[in-house]
């Protein structure tokens, strides 16, 4: 119970910090927009081509954006010297991770949902009919990205060249999320849409595995 109340308080703190400046959300949205527009020059985005390549590039844009967006997550605590205070404030350090990854999932999901209509319009793919299913994939994918990304940003925050290091550590690790989410999205954007449950199940497994690993090893990531 303590864990949940601690997490809720810290989650509130993460949201307040972000919504005071809204820096992270605006820059991430603009970044995804730029990537989506630039990708259109690499192939001819007709409706049928977009159905084939669109989901992959959309997820690639999300992953790149996430590897930049997760950067300040622990760096902010580091520069303000607040990590030690945070650790003293909670009984279980896992609460810090839970709060941060919940906030990151929410931020990622928000930017994805803002960018989805833009993608649909620019690449001529209808999304209205499959919106609930897309929301599910986006949620599971973003959760997977946030769980591993939050853990790795705690590492990269304490290294040199940290801006380069986080994408290097995170992107190869996210290969399973990229493959599974892109496959499910391809199915959903198909002319006759279908849900690839195997992919959904796979994403759930990825999320559970990495959440467990974070629960087991997370506290060591926060050692001074």
């Amino acid at each position: 119970m303590r864990l949940l109340s601690n997490t809720a308080t810290l989650f509130g703190k993460e949201l307040r910090t972000e919504f005071r400046s809204r820096e992270l959300l605006t820059t991430t949205i603009v970044f995804i927009l730029i990537v989506i527009v630039l990708f259109s020059f690499t192939f001819d985005p007709t409706a049928s081509e977009s159905r084939r390549f669109g989901p992959g590039l959309l997820w690639l844009a999300f992953l790149f954006a996430a590897s930049l967006m997760l950067q300040p997550c622990f760096l902010r605590e580091q520069t303000n010297d607040t990590l030690a205070a945070l650790r003293l404030a909670v009984s279980d350090p896992f609460a810090i991770f839970l709060a941060k990854l919940a906030a990151n999932t929410l931020f990622l999901l928000f930017t994805e949902l803002v960018m989805l209509p833009v993608f649909a319009i620019l690449y001529n793919v209808p999304i209205l009919g499959v919106f609930p299913q897309l929301l599910l994939v986006f949620f599971l994918g973003s959760l997977g990205v946030s769980v591993s990304g939050t853990a790795l940003s705690a590492i990269s925050a304490q290294a040199r060249m940290r801006e380069m290091l986080l994408p290097l550590l995170l992107l190869p690790m996210l290969t399973p999320v990229l493959v599974a989410s892109a496959q499910v999205t391809v199915g959903l954007l198909n002319r006759s849409p279908f849900v690839e449950w195997k992919g959904i199940g796979f994403l759930v497994v990825f999320d559970v595995v990495f959440l467990t690993a974070l629960w087991l090893f997370g506290e060591y990531l926060l050692e001074e």
Binding site: L152, I155, A159, L169, M173, V179, V209, F210
Partner: protein
Amino acid sequence: MKRYAFCGTLVVLLVSAAAYCSLLLAPTESTMGSIQRIFYLHVSSAWTGLTSFFVAFLANIMYVYRREPRWDWLGTSAVEVGVVFTSVVLVTGPIWAHPVWGIWWTWDARLTSTFILWLLYISYLLLRTLVEEPERKALFSALFGIFAFIDVPLVFGSIRWWRTQHPQPVVMGGSGSGLNPVMWKVLFFSWFAMVTLMILLTWSRYRLEAMRGDLDTVRREAEVS
């Protein structure tokens, strides 16, 4: 030192014997011809690379719980050796594939996951160069090593389910696959030789890392006093 030289000679003999067996003793494969002989180097290096990463994974877990520098030394040595063996796999693969499949590379499950595995451990080695403080470096790389190793089966599963377009694996590939008994023996012997090579390399790398660690401690003490 004497023991080391003895073991080194033994490993050189074993590896040469494995080379002899795979180049001359093993029967020539009926469809692929002599190029198939690269299989003994390729597959045994792949298995040895994985063995090495598994050793590193165990050492990483031990470090996180025990915090003894020797586990960190073992972890990083095993990862470096694993990366070397995996590089051999990635180089010999295309050399074998080109004459047989007519292409250098295909995005099949095992090729792609080996590549991702290699990238993950290259990132591990990079991470070690970018964290200054020795204890933090040891802890963070151990934790990253654990996450990376957990990720490997997921990478393999995802690619195998959605991206594969490749002939059945020859070894443990289900019905229709199989090897001539002599080929099996040569393969296992090559693997054994490679594992002894892996142990020798990890051992010497470990000694170097231990010396480096000691030097670092002495240097820090000198700086403090």
